[in-house]
């Protein structure tokens, strides 16, 4: 149980930062339209690699439900977070060419080279933001604006997430 305590703290702090800080920063309407960082997928991305997919999926579902209730998402967080949980192993494989089924999987994230870790986090956040904004607009009428919002929000999320990822992988699970 104690080995999962850091993950519980990570979950709570990331959700609190998202709900009370990132979703409430007033950057002005002209910027807020383009940049909406979302860092809570980190919780799913940093879960122990050796966990079975079913547990990752269920944790994602519970977390997304909580976010839907807190942020009034009406299901959009479940829709967009579950694919990230399902394709987490694929993202890790694409980024590092390491399979989760290999024997050296414990603390794999802490031992990944920084470039591969960055690629893993970036790809996953890009997937999440793409799904989120596509589902939110449900329209291809303004495609360029949609793409720009996805890229700018993903980039901002990576910038905010990276210190948390480094701290967590090196100090906590490393």
């Amino acid at each position: 149980m104690y080995k999962y305590t850091p993950y519980i703290w990570l979950t709570l702090s990331v959700i609190l930062v998202q709900v009370f800080l990132l979703d409430n920063i007033d950057l002005g309407a002209s910027i807020s339209v383009w940049i909406r960082p979302m860092i809570f997928p980190l919780v799913i991305l940093l879960l122990p690699v050796e966990w079975k997919s079913i547990w990752v999926l269920l944790v994602s579902y519970v977390m997304a439900l909580v976010l839907d209730m807190l942020l009034g998402g009406s299901g959009i967080y479940v829709i967009t977070l579950l694919p990230v949980a399902l394709f987490r192993s694929t993202m890790l494989y694409v980024a590092s060419r390491r399979s989760m089924e290999s024997s050296d999987q414990s603390q794999l994230l802490a031992r990944l080279p920084l470039g591969q870790l960055m690629l893993y986090i970036s790809l996953s956040l890009l997937l999440y933001h793409s799904l989120f904004f596509v589902m939110e607009t449900l329209s291809t009428a303004n495609m360029l604006r949609l793409i720009a919002t996805i890229l700018l929000s993903t980039f901002t999320s990576i910038l905010i997430s990276w210190p948390i990822v480094r701290l967590f992988t090196s100090k906590v699970i490393g």
Partner: protein
Amino acid sequence: MNRLLEFIKRIYVVLLFILLESIAVWQYATSTPYTEAKILSRTTAVGGYFSKKITNMNHFFSLSTENDILTHRIAELEQTLERERELLADYTEESWQRKMTEEGDLHYRYYPARVASMTISHQRNYIVLDKGERDGVKKNMGVITPDKYLVGYIIECSERYSVAMPVLNTEFTMGGSLQMTNYTCSIRWSGDSPYYVDIIDVSTYAEPEVGMAVEAWSERVPRKGVVVGHIESFELNAAKTAYSARLKLAADMSALDNVLIVENTHYGEIEELMDNIDNQSTPNGTK
């Protein structure tokens, strides 16, 4: 069986993912009118595509039945034609001219159409037909089966397609009359079974019977002969002022394919008259 279990065991994560996603998409789709319109229109388009493919296949396999219906219809028309020929043989040139002028002004025109897609499992069902404005279809035209059973009426048209509101829609309203008695009633669908509709406000003098046919009474379809269904059960309302009855639908709505769209060529005139009455009844128009 073991192989099936083994297979499910291998893909249970994906199955759970699909289940949870479906629930969330449904929840999201029904959360606001915008998401409902956007998501449901996409799913309807995809569903409509597959539905059309399946309908085409079903149509191929039901060709022999269709042929039978057409043969019967041809026989009926031949008989009518023969009768007309006999009548015409007795006409003078003057009466012939008069007859031709009268027949040129047809009261009802029929347009054959096929069902492109439809639903019967919702509270508000709709039927998409493969004929639209370019084929002469307009709003408020009636829709019947080739056997002259009521299906519904057109509520929206595009260039190549039209949408009909079938009897199986809780917003459907139309008048009806008990066959042979001319007592009127109102037709409604309560949304519970796709095989039954209800009629209300039937006069206590009507003496309904189980098995009695109920015909549509509307400007959208011919006055006589379009059957809605047959009375399955009936009862007096609590105040004992009118009967209500449950009808077994004459048309099999779960197997619709070929339909006839009916145009009442006098409908515009009737509508104009009704509009005039409405205008006179408004506060400014009241005399």
